[in-house]
Symmetry: D2
Amino acid sequence: MLDKYNIRTDLALEEKERFESDEVEIHGVILEEEYDEEREIRITRVKIETEKGAKTMGKPVGTYLTLEAPNMALPDEGYHREISEKISLFLQELLGDIKTKGELSVLVVGLGNRQVTPDALGPYVADNLCITRHIVKEYGKYAMGMEHANLISAIVPGVMGQTGMETVEIIQGIVQETKPDVVIAVDALAARNTRRLNRTIQISDAGIHPGSGVGNHRKGLTKETLNVPVIGIGVPTVVDAATIVNDTMENLISALESSEVLKSVGEVLRSYNAAEKYELVKELISPHLNGMFVTPKDIDEMVKQISYTISEGLNLFFSNSQNESVEG
Amino acid sequence: MLDKYNIRTDLALEEKERFESDEVEIHGVILEEEYDEEREIRITRVKIETEKGAKTMGKPVGTYLTLEAPNMALPDEGYHREISEKISLFLQELLGDIKTKGELSVLVVGLGNRQVTPDALGPYVADNLCITRHIVKEYGKYAMGMEHANLISAIVPGVMGQTGMETVEIIQGIVQETKPDVVIAVDALAARNTRRLNRTIQISDAGIHPGSGVGNHRKGLTKETLNVPVIGIGVPTVVDAATIVNDTMENLISALESSEVLKSVGEVLRSYNAAEKYELVKELISPHLNGMFVTPKDIDEMVKQISYTISEGLNLFFSNSQNESVEG
Amino acid sequence: MLDKYNIRTDLALEEKERFESDEVEIHGVILEEEYDEEREIRITRVKIETEKGAKTMGKPVGTYLTLEAPNMALPDEGYHREISEKISLFLQELLGDIKTKGELSVLVVGLGNRQVTPDALGPYVADNLCITRHIVKEYGKYAMGMEHANLISAIVPGVMGQTGMETVEIIQGIVQETKPDVVIAVDALAARNTRRLNRTIQISDAGIHPGSGVGNHRKGLTKETLNVPVIGIGVPTVVDAATIVNDTMENLISALESSEVLKSVGEVLRSYNAAEKYELVKELISPHLNGMFVTPKDIDEMVKQISYTISEGLNLFFSNSQNESVEG
Amino acid sequence: MLDKYNIRTDLALEEKERFESDEVEIHGVILEEEYDEEREIRITRVKIETEKGAKTMGKPVGTYLTLEAPNMALPDEGYHREISEKISLFLQELLGDIKTKGELSVLVVGLGNRQVTPDALGPYVADNLCITRHIVKEYGKYAMGMEHANLISAIVPGVMGQTGMETVEIIQGIVQETKPDVVIAVDALAARNTRRLNRTIQISDAGIHPGSGVGNHRKGLTKETLNVPVIGIGVPTVVDAATIVNDTMENLISALESSEVLKSVGEVLRSYNAAEKYELVKELISPHLNGMFVTPKDIDEMVKQISYTISEGLNLFFSNSQNESVEG
């Protein structure tokens, strides 16, 4: 009923869940799940295979790999190496074809605003990468001590309020100039549910899309806009304030409908149709909530922890794909 | 009705408003308002004069000066000099007695977590102060080119998760060692209403109190705990996520009660008492909202702007009170 | 004599001084000086007009405006407004022709490494600019409340060790995509003399050149590489460690030559030629000094202060040139 | 001869080296060396046992453990775990007696200025510690899942220009209030030689002393000033600019004395006494070098890397000493 409020989620997983409650199978969308009990990691693959599926899901065609681990944001002796390894495997899965060409030239884009803590994920990931492009360019790949040396570059473009430019303008320019084989864009996302925050990583070959995250990167970074494959890596760090309010109202109405104490209210409500209920709540979402987000108080530690784990996943992938190339 | 949810506000102004709707005068609490139309600055003085008033208000005895200016967080050619000047006057009003002693020794405490944007207000204010204590101590007040030179010192203690210590433990130690005449503690606050965010400054001689702001500085910085007068300066930068949800439910119930479309629901609801309504909503506030806050997306620019205006207000007060001393 | 050590300065002013000691006039180079006694600001114009002059000076053809003010890095009530105004006038002087076209589209590039204090000048300047391009693009120039609204954009590209890319690659791409009328690049520079640090601003229409500053931005940002006029704004914040050592040796040798006490040493030294002296010192410059720089301990406050003054100079120029356009 | 220039080093190791050239054994000072060839770690123990030794060395009585590893500042897959382990063992060696008491209450002090890169070592180390005091205080040691839980707290006091207070005033107050068993103070140091920078860690039970590091923490943090044992951990990240100049002059004079080409100069110089030579150079050290330091251009990466290794060494010591306590 409340779809009209345009509830926002950047997670394909959450889009899928919307429909699951209706126990409907969506044409053109495939869902696979696996659970690593020992490491408490749940993997979900949402493959949107047709334009129809894309339309139903409100997300472009592509593969969306989601990794959920409840302890991801907590401190860990081994820096969540097991998660970094999964990220590396995911990248291998999505970039299998490109990787075979020997050296891989990658531009990592750290999206978001370093000055706003829950939006700093992308910049922090860029901070911890092993950057090699300039070294290989200057001294040759043998300087890296291997036959195949990936050329890793990175940019933290800043947000539109800081640059006056669309992120896609900046990245298009850099891609045309430096010609990477693939762009990996890392961004903080908005989830639909606070339970998902800082424990989920989504990796997708569909790029990074409009309206994502804390900021408002309006035009997507995709194969269409950049002319090279674009992998999007996202972690939900915020929920839109309006979403939380919306959920509350849904919960309240559903509670009224089923309430023992207030069952007469429930009976009345049940007799109304969606349009009538919509009228009921549409006035209640304060316009002051526009541009507001919800995030945990210890978001600084969480973003620090997760960004480090993602950096290590990328570094691992870059390093592994070199070794394989050498062997292959 | 929903008081039981312990709706949190650090603003005396908002506490007062709770009662205004009932058009009740609170014993022991005086409210004065003035409005500077030209500069669009509204000043509210809440004086809690008795323990009974304190209990009703849920805030300690003291004077709470509140300055509201809708454009406070927006960029301004003159850096909102008019607000800095008001802050200086407020400090003079609250510290009138102490100031007459000639040199004033002040410790400014920048509370909050520099790493979490809406909680960085206190540290940012400390960053821009004109610190003089060490210079006066080493070279004498004449080095400052004046007969009466204030001794200004500052500390950014960090939050408990970073230090393992209560803020009050740290500040008690420093106060005992350096013996300032007054402590001025600056902190980000939690408001009850998103409309209040980043446009309100509260200055009070009641110190800074438990449960304030984004972090959880649990024991207050007050005259009782520090043995010197404590001025608290606070700006609401967040609203508790639970507060927003709570408000939504209040709004929804009140809409149901008055709805034309759903008037039969309203009739039923009107017949229930507070306890019954409370039962209705108590299950709905997600425990996942604990420790979550709501804040605007451009909080980085807002905190930067306002912290600068407050620093300048403090610098102005420190500088003015010296000059006056000289003349006097 | 010690030219062979390739003493590094990014200041045209200092290049000129090298020759002054010899009281030689350099063909193709014009020097003008003015001194504003009241404000203690010294302005020097070095115009390199011919390729021959450029070769002698080791700097490209162009106009180099240098502003020296001993108190530039000190705190100031008015934030050194008088210096900001001079910067605005300098920009008007160098960009006079371009400005007449009505709206001006400018890309400001904040060069340097935010994580290394003396190299953070460029990024800090970018932080405090009034960015308008995205607003004018989205809402039109009338949204800015004026007939002619400049389109100001900015980028902080990072240094090669962080990005793996030459700065010029990044900026070329962005310039091609966003097509500004002019690029203004701000960078920390290396001076030859510690006396010059943090009290000198050089503004030039010759762009920013190889080997500048703390980092090593190897290919210049110039009209040749970017295809639009490039204004370089630089402040010397470091001196190469090898330069200081070199100077010391020069001083020592010259002291020996003139020493009363050691005049016999002096006599001997005077009888040797440059090659012999060169042999004397060439072994003494430790290779460990490569990649080392000299900078003041309070560089954080200095960079903060000066970057703010430059931002305000740019904001003033952008704002003034709009007003003029309206009137014109 | 040039001792009069008060060449500054915070490393006991370097003080010792001054005398080695004279092949003199210093009474009251014991020197032990070991070398771990495989890991390329050199350990030096300087024990100053008598006041006479202390006077000769210009350092207080105490044990100074120095760890040198040429690759310490380079990136490393294992984050230089081998060095963290040595640090943990050093702390055990110096704190053996205190540790036996069961729970250990430690206050770590991150000295230095977070805003000046080579001085940010102390604050960065504090950022990565596992802070537990507030948890044990609130929930008891069993909350930590062990019988003996150390109480770890930390403070980043800032430097005098930011606080207006001597660091020792701040720490004295906090120590009196929170009563730790031991203070561990971490600071950036000044070395005498650029070769030593960012590859040496000194750990000492003599505390941290006046004039150390980049800033000027004038009164030491020692057992005398704080009334609890104080361990100082320091890494040289800068060399005083005057030191480098001084060294150059020494080198030049010694080159002159031994020069084949300029042997007649050498002969003359050899005939002069120290006072005459002193007169020769005293004018040459520019007063502009006061307050200047020399540091590498990639100091940001170095400080990040080393601070992380030290944090892990501390975390390891805190965690190990708990486990041992349980067993004991």
